[in-house]
Every structure is written in C-alpha cells, then in structure tokens.
Subunit: 730 residues, 2 copies
C-alpha cells in the first residue's frame, strides 16, 4: 500500500476533531504525494488558460482552453474512486488506477485457493470480471457550479464564529440535499481558499464496479512498505476496473444484468515514451495541502505538532508490539493498524527531517513580510485584517493542542465506537437535514461498515493496553493544555481491566445492535464504555463547539486574507491556486531527476533490471518467475527505451501532487496517457507545506512497463486490444 490515497471519509468516526486524525484510525492510509519543477500549483481546470504561456513553454501542445472544460476530452475521462484518482481508457467503462487503489477489490475476491493478491487476476472475458464490493465506487463528475453566493448570503461580520460556521454548514447540507436527487447522485460543496468560494460538484456514483485485471502484488506492490516514499522504485502499481450500470444506462445496484458503462470519453494510451525533460500533465483529486499557512503555523507544526505526533505514535506502536507479542493471531489483527501507524510515522518523521533540513519557516517569514508590507498600502476596507488573522490563528493553534490531548484521552476503539453510537442517537433526535454532517441518513451505511470492520483489527486486551498507555501519556501533558474538566471524567488506570471485561461492545453484533437505540437506552446502560461515552459527551461537545467557533472565525478571516494574497500575487502577474480539497485539479511539470544530497542524483528513470537488483527470496522483493524470465531474456519488444536500452519502470516528475492523486493519469503534451501517479519521494514529504522545486518529485509508473508486463507476463491481450494504444514507430 502506498500513500497517495486520501481517506477523509474515515474521519467522521471521531466526533468534532481535526487534528491527529491519522493516529487513531487503524486502516487510515493517510496520504499525500507530490512535486513541481518551476511548476508548483494544483490548478483548478478553469485556471489553466491563465497559464497558457507556461504550458506552451514546457512543451504542452494541447490548448489550455481544452483542459479547462470538464465536459470535454481529456478532462471528461478523469474519474474519482473516492480517495484515489483514475481515468477511463476505453469507451466501455474500463478504468485504470493504481494497484493499491484496487487492493480492496482484489483482496475480497481472493481465497487461499484463488490468491489473486499473489497471483494477480485477469478476466479474459467480461463474464469473468469480479465484483469490486461496496467500497469500490466510480465517481464521474457531471456538473460543477459556483454556489458561493448561496452559501454566504446574509452572513454578517458580527455573527459569532460558531453561528457562522453552523449556518454555512447548514447551507452546504441543504445544497447537497437539493442536488442528491437520487441514489446515484453524490454531491459535495467544498470550500476553496477556506471559504472565499464554494462550488457544488455533482457526481454520478457508479456502484457496480468490477475487477478486470491486476498484476501480482509482487509487481503491483513490489518493494512494499520498505520502498514506501523511496526512490529508486520499481513498482508496477496499476490495476483495471470496469464501471457497470443498469440497462437504462443509469447506475444500479450490483447485478449480473448490468452492462458496461458507456464512458463518453477515454484516454488514448501512448507507448511512445517520455524522456528526461519532457513535459507532463497530471489530473486527479488531491486531498489536502497547507500551502498558505502563516510562519507561526509552520513553527507550531514543526516544534509542537509533529514531535508530539511522532512520540505518540512511537509509544503506541511499542504498546501494540508488547501487547501482541507471542500471540500470532493478535499480531495479525493489529498488522494493518501498525502498518498504518508506521506509514503516518514515516511521513511525520519525513516532515520533521524536511523541516530540519530546510528552514521553511524562515522562507515563509520573507514571503509573509513581503505580503504584509504590500498590504499596508492595499488593505482596503479591513485595515485590521492581519491582526484579526494572527489572533484567530493563535486561538486555532491553542485549540489544536487541546484536541491532541483529547485524542489521547479517548484513544480506545471501544470508547470511540461508543461515542459514535451515542452521537448517532443524539443526532437522530433531529430532522435529517439538521443533523451533524457525518450522522445523516446518507452516512448510515458508512457508519455501519466501520463499526463492523472494527472486528478485523481489534482485540480487547490490546485495546486496553493502548488506552492505558494513552491515559498515562494524557496525564503527562501540561495541565494548561489539557481541555478543561476532562481529567475528572476519565477512568482510573486500575479500572480498565474491569471495564474491558464488562463491556459488550467488543462483540460486533452487540455493538451494531446499539444503532437505532434511543437516548434512554444509552443513559440507563451499564456498559462501562457506553457509560464513559455518555459521561464524556458534554466535554467533547464543548471542544467541538469551540472548534466550530474558531472554524467560523477562520472561515470569515481567511477568505479575506486569501483575497488579499491573490490581489498581491496578481499585482506581480502570478495566479494563485487554492489548497487541495479533494476536487479535480491539474498540475504540470517535467520528467526530472533531483539531488537529495550533495554528490548524489536520483532518477528520473528506473528500469526492469533494477527489479532483479532488489530481488530477494523474501516479500516484498520476490520477483515472479515469468517477469524474471522476460527481463533476463531481454524480451523488451517495442517498449524498449532508446536511451536506457531497456524497459523503464518508474519515473520522477516535478508535477505538484498530494494524497488523493494516487492513480492520477499522467499525460504527455498531447493529452495521451503515459503513466500513473502513485507516490512521491521522501524528500518531498514537506511539499504539503512548502513546495521546494529543487527536491519535490512525484513517482509515476511508466505506461511502457505496464503495457510490457501486460503483454509479456500476464498476456492481457484482450485489454491491450480494448484500449487504443499508440505504439512507437520502428
């Protein structure tokens, strides 16, 4: 599993919190990805015509106007899988994405007898295509409209932050409800520049998506966690899905009667290849960035947030290791939890390394000072803006510390389940439209799925050890940082064994049975974790209300700040892209190596020979026999790169990506598919905060490797035929 996936949907399990989300989520593949050369920017497609000359300069021949039109080729070939990006590659709904984005679909179809994870899978006919399961969805963007006015109308500067935040949230919910006219419509109203603009995006949610082809994970996940964030890399991180719809052409529940979705657009695949310095375009759904943070926020992250996070995860990992030691079954249960924590830890460590290597705060100081100087003479109506901004950012950072402490105080899977259940019961008292986002009818199936899935990665004794250790960490946090009155609510360490023994929530059926129970049942329950959840509820809500208050203030102040920043940049002739928010973006760059250290150059290409260099007899460096044989025989065919003299596997580019860009189409200057994004380098980890053009690089699968493996190893001739592939002239 690599880390280009973005999973905001998981966050709803933790009521009202935005910090440290990734620590507590067992299967969270919190991700990111990235790079740009002199080409920083995750652009909204409609911004591209402003960048016309830059696109031309690097060698993109496709007109910028074409890229701005989401209804036309090639943008209409781009789809979201929810957390991953993908694209159509045939008129019959064939979708290409990363192996790690299709992993759930591969896993759920695998059995010890038919192990598609290890052996790969190829449907030779449509009939052989396998159900992807309820979590494998394809989202096709149908409509994008600017709804800023409708969201912001009637908001006044005198409203409290919480009033403002709750009113905006209600408007957003109403706009979504209005849009989701049937089960197939999935709408969202994301804020851009934290509320300067709102767009309503209507997507067609296709819910019968089938697994068509995946190579062995010894190809698709070659290098595994060890090579995660690393270069050199030789991973064939690709897989194929197909969208199916009812005979009427509309999305339908999975059924053998469904027919392939007639995608109105698809990408042509080019095997003609790229070389160092060539221009590329990348389209996908980046999740979240923090590019416009103030220097104080950078220092807060660097000096307080990251170190605390790293220490907490490190401690949690050793508690898990100790608690599962000697019990292989428990060890397996927590393998994915540990993997996910290690992934977050590696990213956090990378952030700390990156911030230590480069004084990003000092760079931001210079930019910030430049802006503030300009702003003095261009402040417009709100002369007080920057003081207000600094004030609310200060409040936000203080609250973040309390929220981090709260996460330690509630770091128990049983408690989190109980809190979700109790909150659900509370929210269901209200009409659906007024319920907190994440607890509406539309969310119910997701809640159920998560509460069920807990059983796969949970052991009461291990959870008890983790919670005990977290409570001890909580007790060591500075008393001024701990949220008010929480201490008294928490269980004593020595009460935990009895609580875990008495609670029935560890039983999946009994846990799920709480869905739909009324408040009275919760309040009268003797289950120690239900009791604790009820007891802690008010403190949690106080924190959430404070968060809403501050978020409301941020949503009032930051759009003004961003408008000023945009004006300042405009005065310099520079367009401004919004921070990533899981909406469709386009970035461009060039195929480019980088120097991570003095005297060392990485990339831009790896080759099939590099696979054999890394071969061991142990996972994740086992090379399938057929692949090995093809490499040794140098059966490169038309996929041989003239300069390299062999088949390229992965390459680096300077494109600007982040988590959510997994599976993003890499196009050449003509808009043809030449690769798939799947990761970025370790030195790029800080790019979510500061885009350092010298070292930020995204890692892509070269389409030539994909096609070569399909031909030589997996004999996927049916798919090679279905796609429109341009082969190089001999």
């Amino acid at each position: 599993m690599t880390q280009e996936r973005y999973t905001p949907a998981l966050f709803f399990l933790i009521p009202g919190l935005s910090l440290f989300k990734s620590i507590v989520l067992p299967v969270a593949l919190i991700g990111f990805a990235g790079a740009a050369f002199a080409d920083e920017g995750q652009w909204q497609p409609h911004q591209l015509p402003q960048l016309k000359s830059e696109l031309k300069r690097i060698g993109i021949t496709m007109p910028a106007e074409k890229l701005a039109d989401l209804g036309k080729h090639p943008m209409s070939a781009m789809v979201s899988l929810g957390g991953c990006s993908a694209s159509f590659v045939s008129p019959d709904g064939l979708v290409v994405t990363n192996h790690h984005c299709a992993y759930g679909a591969i896993q759920r179809n695998s059995t010890p007898e038919k192990n598609y994870i290890v052996n790969g899978f190829l449907a030779r006919t449509r009939a052989e295509e396998l159900p992807g399961g309820p979590n494998t969805l394809v989202y096709v963007t149908e409509k994008v409209e600017n709804v800023t006015d409708r969201v912001l109308k009637g908001l006044t500067p005198t409203m409290s932050g919480r009033e403002r935040h709750e009113l905006v949230a209600a408007r957003v919910k109403a706009l979504i409800a209005e849009c989701e006219t049937d089960k197939s419509a999935r709408c969202s109203v994301p804020a851009f520049h934290r509320g300067l603009e709102y767009y309503r995006i209507k997507q067609l949610m296709i819910r019968d998506v089938r697994l068509v082809h995946a190579p062995s994970d010894r190809i698709g996940n070659f290098g595994g966690d060890i090579d995660n964030y690393e270069w050199p890399r030789q991973t064939g991180d690709y897989a194929f899905l197909r969208a199916y719809v009812g005979k009427d052409g509309r999305p339908a529940d999975p059924s053998p009667d469904n027919v392939p979705y007639k995608s109105k657009d698809f990408l042509v695949v080019s095997a003609e290849g790229l070389k160092n310095g060539d221009a590329i375009l990348l389209a996908g759904y980046p999740g979240r960035t923090s590019r416009y943070k103030l220097p104080a926020e950078i220092r807060f992250a660097r000096d307080i947030d990251f170190p605390a996070k790293a220490a907490g995860i490190t401690a949690d990992l050793s508690v898990i290791a100790a608690a599962t030691h000697g019990n292989p079954a428990w060890d397996v249960r927590y393998a994915s939890v540990a993997k996910s924590l290690n992934n977050v830890l590696k990213k956090t460590q990378g952030l700390m390394d990156g911030f230590a290597r480069k004084d990003i705060a000092a760079i931001k100081d210079v930019q910030d000072a430049g802006f503030r100087a300009w702003h003095q003479t261009h402040a417009g109506a709100n002369k007080n803006l920057l003081a207000e901004l600094d004030g609310v950012i200060g409040q936000d950072m203080a609250l973040q510390r309390q929220e981090a402490a709260w996460l330690e105080a509630t770091h128990s899977d049983l408690l989190k389940s109980a809190r979700t259940l109790y909150r659900l019961a509370l929210e269901r008292q209200k009409p659906d439209a007024q319920r907190e986002s994440g607890y509406q009818e539309r969310d119910l199936s997701f809640i159920k799925a998560r509460l069920t899935r807990l059983e796969q990665s949970f052991v009461p004794r291990v959870d008890e050890a983790r919670y005990g250790a977290a409570l001890a960490r909580y007790a060591r946090i500075d008393a001024q940082v701990r949220p008010q009155d929480v201490d008294a609510l928490l269980p004593a360490q020595d009460a935990l064994p009895a609580m875990y023994k008495a609670s029935e929530l560890a039983d999946t059926a009994k846990r799920l049975a709480w869905i739909g129970k009324d408040l009275d049942a919760f309040r009268k329950s003797g289950d120690p974790f239900i009791v604790l959840a009820v007891r802690m509820h008010d403190a949690g809500m106080a924190l959430e209300n404070r968060r809403n208050e501050i978020d409301g203030n941020l949503e009032r102040v930051i759009p003004q700040y961003m408008a000023a920043v945009i004006a300042w940049k405009k005065s310099q002739g520079k367009p401004v892209y919004p921070d990533a928010n899981s909406t469709l973006r386009v970035t461009f760059g060039t195929v480019a190596p980088y120097s991570p250290r003095d005297g060392l150059v990485k990339g831009p290409f790896t080759t099939v020979e590099g696979i054999l260099e890394k071969e061991t007899d142990k996972d994740p460096f086992i090379v399938p026999g057929a692949l090995k044989e093809a490499i040794k025989a140098k059966r490169y065919g038309v996929f041989k790169d003239a300069a390299l003299g062999t088949v390229p596997v992965n390459f680096l580019s300077s494109a600007d990506t982040t988590g959510g860009n997994s599976g993003s189409a890499i196009m050449n200057g003509k808009g043809e598919l030449v690769g798939l994004n799947f990761d970025s380098t370790y030195e790029s980890i800080t790019k979510d905060w500061y885009f350092d053009t010298a070292i930020t690089r995204a890692i892509h699968v070269d389409i030539r490797y994909m096609l070569w493996v399909m031909k030589e190893v997996d004999h996927a001739d049916n798919l090679l035929k279905e796609m429109t592939v341009k082969y190089p002239k001999k």
Copy 2:
C-alpha cells in the same frame, strides 16, 4: 582514518602466516582503494609507452616516455611514506599527503593544551615545524634494477618447493644486504607476477620528517568512520610534511641542525580544476591486489574465506564489547582495536556484498576458459602447466584453511608476544644474513616498537576473554581443517584465568626484557605464555614450512602461468600489469560518476555546501566555525568551479587504485597536481579481485578545496607561496 593505507610492515609479528592477518592486528589499517573506467591497470612506469595511444585518447598530453623515467619529472617527485604515497610540492622538501597518513605525527605532537588533532596545526616558519617521530619517514626512490637473473639463477625444476622458496628468500636477503650500504639506504627486492621478475629498489630513507601543516580533523577526517568507503564524501584529507637532512645533504637522525631536503623535483599545483570526463593520472604505491586469481580461488574466497573472516571478527567484536562493558578505561584501550576490526569487517562485508551482487567467478570462468583454450595450442615446453597450477592452488587453499584455524588457536596478544620473542631468540642463533626476514638486525627496532605499543591497546582480562572465545571457535572448526597435532598443545579453557594471572608478559618492561635472552631462559621459564609459545613452536614451524613449500611451488608455477597469460594477452594486443606489490605504479582514468543502483547516480563531485548538509553537533560531523562561516558567506574566490557554482570538495575517478595509494598525487593531463587520492567507494571493494569498470571509483580530494581551506580557513599563506600554484585565469 580511511583505508587507503597499506601496512605490510605489521605482518611480521605473526610468524609465517599470510591469511587473516588483519583480524589479529589491533592497529592494522588494512586497506585498499581504487577505480578505472575503461582504464584498468596499475602500470609499472616502464610499461606506459605501450599505452601511449590510450593515454592520448583520454586527454593526457604529457608524453608517455616522460612518465616511464623515474629519474625525471614528474615521477621523481613521487615518494613513499611506507604504507602511504606522497609527493614533493616544493624544492625545499615539502611533501603533501593525506591527513590520515600524517595522523601519527599530528597525534604525537598534540596535548590537551595544544590539541592539533582538533585545532589543526600550521607552522608559520620552518622553526615552528614539529618532529614527526620515528614512524614518520620519507622514502625517495633512487634506483630500480632488474635482478631477476640474480634471484633465479641455478634454480631447478626438481627442487622442492621449500628449498626453492628458501633459496629465493636467501638471495633476496643478500641482494638487500648488498644494497643497504648505510643507514639511509632502504632496499627491497619485490617479486612481480609472483616471481616472473624481481626488481631491486633502492630508496633513500629520510628519518627527520616534520609536521608542517594539517587542518583540523573536523576537516581532514570529516565524516570519520561513518563515511569510510562511502560517497557522497566531503573530507579534506590532506596534510603537509617536510623532509630534513644533515647539512651534507644526506639523511640524518633528527636534529635541530638539520636542513630542508633539496628535492630535485616537485609537482606544480594547478587550481584550474577538473570537470566530469577529464583525464587524470595517479602515481603511488599500491599494496596488494589479487587480479589474476583462478575461478576456484574466487570461489574459495567468496564461499569460505570471507564468510569465516566476517563471522570471526563479528564474534571477536562482541567479546571485546562484553569484556570492556562498564569500564570506560578498558573501552578506550580497545577503541582502536575495535575500529580496526570494524574497518576490516566493513571491507569483508563489502567483498561479500560485491561477490553476491556480481558473479565474478562466472566472469573469471569465461576468461579462464578462453585462456585455457588458447593455451592448448600455445603451451610451449610445459604442457603440464595448467594441471600443475590447479594442483598447487588446491594445496594453497587447503593450507589457508589450516592457517585460519591456527590464527584462532593463537588469538592472544600475550601468546603472540611470547611467540615473537621466542622466535627472535631462535633466529639470533644464526648469522644475521641467514635469519628469517623480519627477525634480522634491521628489523629489531620495529619489533621493539610493536612490543612496547601493545600496552596502549591491551588489558589482560579482555585478552583472556578474546582468547577463550577464539579457542572455543577453534574447537568448532572441522577437525580435518585444524592443523595436525595442534589440539593437544592448546590450554584448556579453565586454565586461562590462572595463566593470565601468572604471566608477567602483560608488563611492558618485563615483556621487553625478554629481547636478547637466550634459548635456555625461554625453555626454563615458568611464565605460562612463554611455556605455551615454546610448546607450540614446532607446530607453528611445521605450518610455516608447509607454507614455504607451497609458496615455493607457487613461485615456480605462477610465473610460468603469468608468462603464458602475458603471451595470450599480447596475441590480443593487450599489455598486462602485475598485481600490486607496494612498488611505484601509474594508473590513469577519467573524472566519472557511477550508478551503484538502478535509478541512482553518484558523483562525480561534492561541494562545500554538502559539508553543511551533514553537519551535526557530534563527531565526526562537526564543522569548524571558520569553515562554516566561509561557506555561508560563499567566499569561494578563484576556487569556485564554473559548472558547480561553488568550491568542489571531493571527486570520483575511474583510476585503478588500492591500499597504499593513500596520498597518491592526482595529476591532470599536463602532470600538474590537481588532487590527492584517499579512499574508494563501497561498491569498489571487490576491485582487488575484479576490476568492474562500471562501478569502480576512487575518491579524491580536489586540490581546489585544499587550497581554499588553506587560504580561507587556516591562512596558510606561507605554504601557498612556497608551492607553485597555477590559478585559473579570470
């Protein structure tokens, strides 16, 4: 300390053994270095005219004939320091070499108050130059003559190996004695191609050598053991010495009355710089290589020798760690032992990695088969040669295993001292000329120095633990491999505590008092280690005699084999260089990066900015304030490289080097000094066995860095003025 130093002089402490030498020598900096691009070869200077067109092709403008004449510039500027190489850089005996080659001289002059190791040292006047001590010697080659006929005359094919070996040894000793007419003449008669040719080399040994200048070891040894064998590298591994002689111009004992030696030749220093692809020449004294080993010998090294060596050192290191644990004074005593063992272990591990990465034996199989096919029709007189060769090589490998076992059986510093002393007493029974080499009068001062120096790296309790563990390892060796009858001679494990308690050899004065005692004193002694040495003597001699027998056979067969190889290569138009034997050699190559792995390129240059990248507040990555300030201020001056935009520090070349090449002059095509050799890359470690042109690289200090630090950091203007430096035109 880096590993380009070669220390054969230390080997005499172990009677009659050639294998595993490095394991048992506390301060042995067993070394090597190296690289070549398509330019493999450590050429005898007289061979260079044969390589004329190749030299020209890569860009060496100096005539090959000039390089062949040891009496003329630039070859007459090259000197040996005994284990290191160096060169004259002024007419007043100023010598430049590596910092690690001058380390002894720096260390012996340092005190806590005047810490020249950390602070560096600069003599601003000749009067301030400091005595280098008895181990700091400069050897100037005066005469080289081919004495093959005199060594080999009258040898017959029917002689036994041992007869032959001993006769050759006696002839060599006589030739040396004849040549060493006074205390200043140091002669040697090295064999080339293991006895195809012998040359007598007469060197002027200058014994008053003074320390002139060394940077701080935070420059000269930046990166220390951590960066040993590594790239990227940023080490300013240079220092200056000066040779002094009596007023008559002849070498003299150190005295304030001595005057600088008037070097008849010296190198001009060029600060004009090199760039990627530029040709370089490298002259120095490489110690030993094994380039002409048979495939069977490669497999023996790979499968038996290296793994056993690595296991033995690893075990020994953990015994040392356990035995010194909790006792800082003991820990200090064994620090250099452990450092040296770790260095050998890293090299051995590198050899194992290299042999695992590339099937060198298979490559040699192809070469060997080619030669054998040719030989069938060109065998000449000795049709039986290859069968004989295989036979004696087989015997040699079998004996090497016994010798390795013997080293475990005698792995005690006290026992080794006792054996040296007893052997000395035995040899002194004979006339000096007949004594075993290493025990002659000319060797006595070296023996005393070593027996004295033991006190710096010895603790009886630690030695006892090491010996106990070695005896246990010995007992686990296959009985068929253990030398005959040795088992019965060895002490029981439980006898060791009493032996170490009773022995007086741990006391330096008492140890030295044994020098000069007669045999009777040894035979009557009750000292347990003297008793053990006497008891083991015959077994040791049996092994030594067997070694002489096999060496004699090798010396008979291998020259015939090498003559055939030379004829075979000549038939292909290719000259053949002899394996390194600590004699003056010239190699050439180009400044060149390399790819250690798919997707990764290293070199060819590092820069001063890389120093700051590695800076920590801990040794060996502390950056001196003045250096840091100069880098941050970008005070590059004329030393700025146009392409890099900064001052280069180290660079890689494809030149073919090995241990002993430390301090070797790197010259540009015009014969001007542009750098100093000091190390080679980890991937190059196998080069002593097989020169892989794609990955073998030597690491050099760029002279521009040296000059820049001298100017900007150490203000060594007096030396910059004394040398003839060509600065780039502005």
